[in-house]
Every structure is written in structure tokens, then in C-alpha cells.
């Protein structure tokens, strides 16, 4: 457990007013709710939740299966349309009873990086192309995009897999490539839904450390859905989701 060094974290349950003055809000969720289906079959997956996440913060979303974690994270990622409430990302009003931007995909490819339980790489593109695809769609110069891809892969310890196809990678390698992809567009927010579920304990922890490091170095807000209680000390804040209700958990100083 080489990475499980105690982290020097201060108690981080700031008052909103205090925070606004000192930090910049990246994700602001107000009375956000999501109901799947209609009438008798309606499932209230998220019930009027509100919270705010700031630049460079790492936040864990904890909760039992079916509690609404994925729903919440995909609403923040503009993948799932909320039913009610308000969502503000990087200072821009995204949702207020309806979408307030015309192109959610543009927002995604410019500001958000995703990491999912399964790596979700595109099988017919090699590793480098999987990583450069989003920057290239953002009109980034392809030399710059490729240089960045190489750097990220080296950083993640899979620099030799540049021209491999996803099918030639192990689970851990795929997940690291997926992380590299989520970082390639210099996102403001990284949303990760059980990113370490497919990895063994050691690897899982090293991936989490990596994300943590990114958050502090690049000032990225990171929201991670996880089951792994061992990860908790790595995060700045903990959000508990229970039956669609989100509550902030006070973190104990180690």
C-alpha cells in the first residue's frame, strides 16, 4: 500500500458564503431532481438535491447500488436531462427547468472529461486516436493533440501502447487510456463513475492517487462515484446518496 500515506487534509465543510469569496464554483446544483418514467411507473432517482463543487476539489459520491449516483453524475455531465431544478457549470447556466444551452455535446467535449466503469474506448481507433479524437473535434492542432496524448500516456505508464487497439490492452491499461482520454481536452470537470471497479486494489488506489494529483496540479474538479471505502481518505469531500437524497458527510481528520 505504497500510496496509502496519510493525506494532510483540513476539515472541508465550508460555508457557502465563505467559499464564494475564496474559491471558484465549477459545479452548482440547485434543487435538481430526476424522475424516470411517468405515472405509476415513475421512479424518483434524485430528489431535489443541492450542492456546490469548487475548482481543484475531489469529491466522492458514495451510496448503495440504485441510490441514484449514476443519475446524478450523468445530469452533471449533461448526458441525462434533469426533470427539475438548476445546474450551473463553470459559471454558465446549463439547465433551469429546461436546457439553457443549445449544444450539450459541445459543452461536454470542451469542459468535461468522463471516466466510466467500463473503459468505453472506441474499438476501431488505436490508443492515440482514442485520445486525440476529442481535442481534434475541438479544432486543436493535431501535432499538439498528439504530443499531449503521448505525454498523458507516458504519465499514466502506458506510453508504449500508442498504436495499440483497445482489444490488445488489459483491463488496467484500458482504464488508464480512458483516463488519458478524459484529460486530453484539458477539462474543468472530471466525472468518474466507479472508475476503479474493473481494477485490482493496488491499481485502483494508484488510479485514485493519480486523479487526486491531477486535481491539485491542474485545478480540475473531480467527482468520483465509488464503493471502495479505502478510497475515502483521498477525497476532499464526501457526498452520500441515499434513495435519491444527497447529503454532505463531515470528513474526519485522519
Amino acid at each position: 500500500m505504497a500510496y496509502a500515506q496519510p493525506l494532510k487534509l483540513t476539515l472541508l465543510v465550508p460555508l457557502e458564503d465563505e467559499m464564494k469569496n475564496t474559491s471558484q464554483s465549477v459545479i452548482k446544483v440547485e434543487q435538481l431532481s430526476k424522475t424516470y418514467g411517468k405515472g405509476e411507473n415513475a421512479v424518483k432517482a434524485i430528489k431535489e438535491c443541492s450542492f456546490e463543487i469548487f475548482k481543484g476539489e475531489t469529491v466522492a459520491l458514495l451510496g448503495p447500488s440504485g441510490s441514484g449516483k449514476t443519475t446524478l453524475i450523468t445530469m452533471i455531465g449533461c448526458i441525462t436531462e434533469p426533470t427539475h431544478g438548476k445546474l450551473t457549470l463553470d459559471g454558465e447556466l446549463i439547465y433551469d427547468q429546461k436546457w439553457r444551452i443549445s449544444d450539450t455535446r459541445q459543452l461536454r467535449r470542451e469542459k468535461i472529461g468522463f471516466i466510466f466503469q467500463s473503459h468505453n474506448l472506441i474499438p476501431f481507433l488505436n490508443v492515440e486516436e482514442n485520445i486525440t479524437l476529442v481535442p481534434l473535434m475541438n479544432q486543436t492542432n493535431h501535432l499538439i493533440a498528439r504530443k499531449k496524448a503521448k505525454e498523458l500516456l507516458d504519465y499514466l505508464g502506458v506510453g508504449d501502447k500508442l498504436s495499440a487497439k483497445p482489444s490488445q490492452l488489459s483491463g488496467g491499461q484500458s482504464q488508464r487510456v480512458a483516463i488519458a482520454r478524459s484529460l486530453a481536452n484539458n477539462p474543468k470537470i472530471i466525472l468518474a463513475d466507479e472508475p476503479t471497479a474493473a481494477l485490482d486494489g493496488e491499481r485502483a488506489l494508484s488510479v485514485m492517487h493519480l486523479l487526486k494529483k491531477l486535481a491539485s496540479e491542474q485545478n480540475v474538479a473531480i467527482v468520483v462515484v465509488t464503493h471502495d471505502e479505502r478510497m475515502i481518505p483521498l477525497f476532499d469531500r464526501i457526498l452520500r446518496v441515499n434513495d435519491g437524497i444527497v447529503s454532505e458527510e463531515t470528513k474526519q481528520t485522519p
Binding site: T70, R108, F114, F116, P123, M137
Partner: protein, 378 residues
């Protein structure tokens, strides 16, 4: 920007090429079918064109030998020849015959003509035209008979003196040519048995001086229809110009069989279109997961649509090339004439491109409905 269509194709190249080859074969069949249709229409006029006649004199109140039974006295030709403006004449007979080669029946269409008249089979490629009044025959190459071979027909033995190429009747049967007297004998008093039958019935009208039509050539500058009209006034005959005879042929004879094949070709083309659309649609639906990921990471609809349409069009074009290869390889195996022309192929290319784009639009429509959230989990 990375070309997604190209990357996907090269990722599963074998599958893509096999699909293109399969669709290509289907389109190849369409091309051959169009060729068969063209061949049918073209063949129908070969015999008529080969006569190089200007006028057809046939039995009164009939449409001539290509449409119905027409009998006319052979002597009429001398009266026709006497008309001002007529250059030469020939009495002609037409009949279906069964020839036997190595005990195998070959259905042929026999034409009898006046040896020494203006008419001679122009499709001759080997040997010589008929010279003798009797027992000589010219056959088409595809009958299988060789030059100088002897054939037993009716009660006589004939020698092959000439070979034609691509000489077929309006219904596509291979042509053979006899001298007029031989043809008359075959047509009007076929076998011993028939003669006995006729005798038993006291039917003595087995005249060998009957023909099916008289064909005539005119001097340059002579108005064919005017002369035809003139002849009809003097003689109890019906006279058609070559063009009129050709129209009758197309209207009465080929129209139905060509419509039949034309109809079949159209249906085949429709079926092929449906299959191509389905294949393209399935191809797109096979990429649901990839499309969902693309949407998830923020690819615009344009990127996705481009990928689908490019692949579809490439599939269509490759299939089209395969179709041409396929049809040109197989075309010679067909017993009847099959004509592949580039304008038909071009038309098919246009149709295939349109169908590919339409097929991909169905795919695009479904692709745009794919929920990016479906890429998550699992």
C-alpha cells in the same frame, strides 16, 4: 480530423469487403438481367435488319409472318418486280424446325430465300452463301454444327456450307437458312407421314409454290410507303415498309416478353435496393455502442452522420465495381444474347448511390436517437 469511417472499415476490413462482394453479386445479377432485356430487344430485330429489305409483301389482311400466319403465292414476286421502282425481290419462308445433332434436338428457326436474289445472310462469318438450289444449309455457330457437316432433315441430307454468328429469330431461336425450294418442301410437305395423311384426306393442295412473304428492295429515292400503297391497290396483298414491319414486330412480339423481363428487372432492382438499405442500416445499428460513446465524449451529429454516410457510399461504390466484374465474368455463359452497356451500368451506379444514401439516412435517423447514456455501465 480522424476519418472514422475509414478507421472502422480497416478495423474489420474482411467483413466489409465480404459484404461489398455479396451486394456486388446481387447488383451483378441486376446488370445481367438488364443485359438479358437489352439482348432480347436487340435480338428481336436481328432477322428483320438482316434482310435489308425495303418492302414486305404479305398475305392480305394479315400483319405478316412475324405476327401471324401469312401465305402468299410465290409468283407474286414477279408481279412485284414489274413495279416501277422495285430493284429486286425474293420470296421468303419462315418456320420453326427441330434439328438433331448427336441425338440432341436443337430448336432452330429456318428461313428460305431465293438463291441469287439480293438477299443473303449478312451475318455469315465462315464458308459461303447458298449457291446450289438444293441440299445446302447455312447454320448459326451456336447450333454446334461445323462447316461441311451433313444434317439429315426431313427426307434429305443437307451439307453445311456457311456459318453465321449471332443470327437469331425474333424469339431468340438460332437461325438456319435454306434455299427457297428446300424450305418450301420442308414447310409445305414435311414428312412421309404427313404426305400420306394429306393423300388419305384427298388434300392435294401441297403446292411448293407458296411462300410466307415477298421481300423487295427499291431503287434509291423511291418513296416506300407510296409504292406500298400502289401495290396494295393493284394486288390482293398487304404491303409494309421495313419500319412498319419492325414496329409490328416490337408491338406484337417482343412487347410482352420484354415487358415480362423488364418487370422482373425492375422488381430485382427494388429487392436489391431494399437489401442494400437493410445491410447499410444493420451496419449502422451494429455500431450503436460506438455511436453512443462518440456522443458521450461530445462528437457532434455531423461527425456521426459523416461516418455513416461515407461508409454507406463506399460500400455502394465497391459493390458496384464488384457487380461489373461479376456480370462481365458471367455474361458469356448465357445462351442468349446478353448486352452489357456502360450507360446501364452508370444508371445502376446512380441508383445504388441514391439507395446507399437513403439506406444510411435510416441508419442516421436511428443513430441520432441513440442515448449517449446507453454507453455507460455494463
Amino acid at each position: 480530423m480522424i476519418n472514422l469511417a475509414q478507421r472502422d472499415i480497416t478495423h474489420s476490413l474482411g467483413k466489409f469487403l465480404t459484404t461489398a462482394a455479396g451486394v456486388g453479386m446481387l447488383l451483378g445479377v441486376v446488370l445481367i438481367m438488364i443485359g438479358v432485356y437489352r439482348g432480347l430487344v436487340d435480338d428481336a430485330n436481328i432477322l428483320l435488319k438482316d434482310t435489308r429489305a425495303d418492302l414486305w409483301i404479305v398475305q392480305k389482311d394479315t400483319l405478316g409472318p412475324f405476327a401471324e400466319s401469312s401465305r402468299i403465292h410465290e409468283d407474286v414476286k414477279n408481279q412485284i418486280k414489274a413495279f416501277n421502282g422495285v430493284k429486286d425481290v425474293s420470296a421468303v419462308t419462315f418456320q420453326s424446325l427441330q434439328l438433331y445433332r448427336n441425338n440432341q434436338a436443337i430448336r432452330v428457326f429456318a428461313m428460305g430465300y431465293d438463291v441469287g436474289s439480293f438477299y443473303t445472310p449478312h451475318l455469315l462469318i465462315e464458308g459461303r452463301p447458298l449457291i446450289a438450289e438444293h441440299f445446302e444449309i447455312i447454320v448459326d455457330k451456336k447450333t454446334g454444327f461445323k462447316l461441311h457437316e451433313t444434317i439429315f432433315i426431313g427426307r434429305d441430307i443437307f451439307t453445311v456450307v456457311g456459318i453465321t454468328k449471332d443470327a437469331v429469330s425474333s424469339s431468340g431461336d438460332l437461325m438456319v437458312y435454306f434455299s427457297l425450294p428446300d424450305a418450301q418442301k420442308l414447310q409445305f410437305l414435311s414428312s412421309n407421314e404427313q404426305i400420306r395423311n394429306d393423300r388419305a384426306r384427298g388434300n392435294k393442295d401441297t403446292s411448293t409454290t407458296t411462300a410466307n412473304a415477298i421481300i423487295a428492295t427499291l431503287y434509291k429515292g423511291v418513296n416506300g410507303s407510296q409504292l406500298a400503297h400502289e401495290i396494295e391497290q393493284w394486288k390482293h396483298v398487304k404491303v409494309f415498309t421495313q419500319e412498319e414491319q419492325s414496329t409490328i414486330l416490337t408491338k406484337n412480339l417482343i412487347e410482352r416478353s420484354s415487358k415480362q423481363i423488364g418487370m422482373f428487372t425492375v422488381i430485382l432492382l427494388l429487392v436489391a435496393s431494399v437489401i442494400i438499405s437493410l445491410i447499410i442500416y444493420t451496419m449502422t445499428m451494429g455500431k450503436i455502442k460506438e455511436i453512443a460513446i462518440l456522443k458521450l465524449i461530445g462528437a457532434s451529429n455531423a461527425v456521426i452522420v459523416k461516418m455513416i454516410v461515407q461508409q454507406s457510399v463506399l460500400l455502394g461504390v465497391l459493390a458496384f465495381l464488384a457487380a461489373n466484374l461479376f456480370s462481365h465474368t458471367l455474361v458469356d455463359l448465357f445462351p442468349k444474347r446478353t448486352i452489357l452497356i456502360s450507360s446501364d451500368a452508370l444508371m445502376l451506379l446512380v441508383i445504388v448511390t441514391i439507395v446507399s444514401v437513403l439506406g444510411s439516412l435510416f441508419g442516421v435517423r436511428s443513430a441520432l436517437k441513440i442515448d449517449p447514456a446507453s454507453a455507460i455501465g455494463g
